[in-house]
Structures are given as C-alpha cells and as structure tokens.
Point group: C2
Chain length 217, copies 2
DNA sequence: AAAAGTCCGTTGCTTTTGCAACGGACTTTT
DNA sequence: AAAAGTCCGTTGCAAAAGCAACGGACTTTT
C-alpha cells in the first residue's frame, strides 16, 4: 500500500481524506515502481500509456540534439508529475526519462478522465479537474522556461532564471541542477556559464557556492 | 449566428454536426468579438476569464522584458486557441494579447468543464476531452519551441526551426513571421538573424525571399 | 590509502552575436 | 506624385559565447 503522506506533496492528491486518496489511487489505476540511479524510465519513440508522479528522488526528461547535447525538457523533483500530455494524448513520446537518483514512481493512467464511469461522482469530477489544472500549470511553467531561453544574452538568461527562484523562495536558495544541467537548462555552454557566474559574483550581484545561491544586487 | 464552417478549423469543433456545434457554442458560452489591427485583446495583470479562438486574422501573445524586448509566447493563427491555461485556472495573465491583423475572436468560458451540469451527456464529455487535448497539445507545441531555444548557436536554432516546418509542410513553406517577430521567436537579434540567413543561402543550404523558404541541402 | 571518477572554475583562442546605423525596395498615406 | 512608413539586407565594431583543455577540490571505489 502506498504511503499517503508522500501523496500530499502532489496537487493531484493534496488535502484529500485517506479514503478519498485510496479512491483516487483506484481512479488513476496507480502502481508504484522503483528505479535505481541512472535507469531509464522511458526511451525515445515508445508510447507512454501512463504519467508519473515522483514519490521520492529526481528524474529528468530530455531529448538529444544532433550534436549529442542534452536538451532538458523537464526536471522533475519529488511531488512533481511528468508525461501527462503524452499519456493523455496516447501518442509516442520522443523523449528520454532518466532517474537522476534512485527514484520511486507512482505510475497513473488518465483513462478514467477520458472515459468516466457514469454516474460521475463529485470526487471523480474533482480528480479530473485537478489533472487538467496540472496540465494548465505545466504550460505556465513552460512559459517561464521560454522567458529564460528567449533572452539573448547569457547574463540576462541568468538574471531571469535566478529572479524566478528568488520570487518563489527568497534571496537564498538551492537549485536542483549541477553546472552541466544548469547550462543545458539555460541553453548555454557550461564553461561560459561558470565564467558569467564568476563575473557576476565579482561584480557583487550575487554569491554562490556550488548549487547554493544568494542574491545580493 | 456564428459561421459553422469557420469553426471546423479548430480541433474543439472539428467534425461536429451543425446541431452539435450549436450545442458546443452554448456549452462554452461562446461570444464573437472583432478587433482592428493593432488593438489589444488583453493587457498585463488582468484576469482572463475566457479563452479565445481566432476565427480570422492573427494575434500575438507576448511579454516585455526589462530592456523593452518583446518575448513572443504564442503566435496564434486562424483556427488556433489562446489563453486556455489562464482561463481554466482563473488567474491573472501577465501577458499582452495584440491583434496583428484585423481579427475575429470567439471568446469561450471553461466553466462547464470545471462544473458540469449533471447528468453529463456523451457530447459534454467529448467537448471536455477535446479541451483537455488542446491543453496537452499546447505543451507539446511549447516543447518544440524549447527545442529551438535550447540550441546554443543561432545557426542551430534556425536549422531546428526550419526543420520543424519542413517536417510538417515539406521543403517549401511560408512562415507567419516577419523578420523582427522571427528574431523574437528565436530569441535572437534581427540583424544577426538576417546575416545568418544570408550566410546559409550563400552556402546553398536554403533559399528564401521574405517569409517564403525552401530547404535545399 | 591509493586510484579513479565527478564536479567545477579558469583560461586562451576563435567564432558568433548583439548593437547601431544606413540604405534600398516596396507599400501606404496624403 | 511626393512623402512617410515599413521591412529587410548589410556592415563595422565591440562584446559575448562556444570550444577545448587543464587542474584542483572533493567523493567514491577498490
């Protein structure tokens, strides 16, 4: 049986009573599976019949470009979903999903959202709405990503990226990326990123150590 | 009364019978409104209670960065939707929506999706599913955008951008952007874009005139 | 404890890019 | 038809960024 406390980290289950959580797990036909660090949860060009919730650990969704660069599509931490769009549409997913750490995944099916059992209960409707809200939030998150990537200098990308964190977490925060992933996330070269970060630190704009940052401005 | 033929360009209404289209218009509480070229359909920080379908013309959804650059979030042609996420979530939309040409917009409400009238008919369910599918497709479209923007040279951004068009439309196609919008879409400078396009033409990779392109390579 | 591996800052070099400005082709306005 | 406006290619220049390589700090493996 799934640990109900873990589920509260996800907007899909947040605040539901234990009975409702159990019902929801049935509604989504949920199954838990664990993967060790570095394992692939999915490979390019397979269909993705279920979407995932990360119960513990971190996964990364990425594609590869011609030159072998990783393009990070989604960095998924504990409590986040991935693959909802592909699962709902039932289409092939041209992506890799890889376990950054050992992870525990709750795989869920969107079948009941598309084809409800009648009559539709209030809880059925609530769960469906929550799923759609997650989809909508995903587009907003991607909007933020586009805002970063659209900037035409690395300095401005960094300022936008860090401002988004600062807006959410305050002036001190830890990011979930190492330098290589951060560079991929910003669409930049790792050494150029290190260089620019060092410059900004020298200018007194920010301070950092590894993946911990402090905005000074 | 709305022209039913126009509605067929949108996945929300495509293939429905005339009666079902009428029902759908009621379901979404649809209202038509026209705007002249250059008019704002929405300004930053207002709530966006309805999402829009472009019946004719083109609109652009964008934000402005600190330096006054436009960041294009969405370029919306006839038959496309915009604002579904904000409308569904009922939150403030930090965006500008501007009519690029004279436009006719069908404004719709997602209220019945969130709070259905019971009993839910098969058509109600179909319309809800179509709306969710549109949301899912939006995230896929944004994935493509992220693929372009993540490339770390303008040349690679261009190749990715043009390849996406070529994959859909073949080796000759017309893009809906002028150079300034194209540059904003790619997160680059307009003159740098012109220069790179000229280089690629000189190298025999492609041919173009204004917004008409042909892939040669 | 040595060895291997990982992560990250640094640097030299070359290429790419942004920026500003100009001018030509074309369209719209008056 | 002149004038004003728009769109786009071009260019010179300075700044930014990619690339490759190295080395130090730290962690994990053996």
């Amino acid at each position: 049986m799934t640990n109900h406390a873990l589920l509260d980290s996800c907007p899909l289950y947040q605040g539901l009573s234990p009975q409702d959580k159990d019902y929801a797990l049935t509604y989504f036909d949920a199954r838990v599976k664990t993967y060790e660090k570095g394992a692939f949860l999915h490979q390019v060009s397979f269909p993705l019949p279920r979407f995932g919730l990360v119960l513990s650990g971190t996964v990364q969704v990425y594609m590869d470009d011609i030159d072998g660069h990783h393009i990070i599509m989604n960095h998924v931490e504990t409590g986040d979903l991935f693959g909802e769009s592909y699962a709902f549409l039932g289409i092939e997913a041209p992506i890799y999903i890889c376990a950054v750490t050992e992870v525990e995944i709750l795989w869920m099916s969107p079948a009941r959202i598309k084809i409800p059992l009648s009559p539709v209960s209030a809880l059925d409707q609530e769960l469906s709405n929550r799923f759609v809200a997650c989809l909508a939030h995903r587009t907003l998150a991607m909007n933020q990503r586009v805002q970063i990537l659209s900037r035409n200098t690395l300095r401005m990308k960094l300022i936008t990226f860090l401002s988004q964190y600062a807006a959410e977490k305050g002036d001190r925060f830890t990011i979930p990326f190492d330098r290589a992933s951060m560079a991929a996330y910003l669409g930049a070269d790792r050494s150029a990123l290190s260089r620019e970060l060092s410059r900004m630190q020298a200018e007194g704009i920010l301070a950092f150590h590894r993946n911990h940052f402090q905005i000074l401005k």
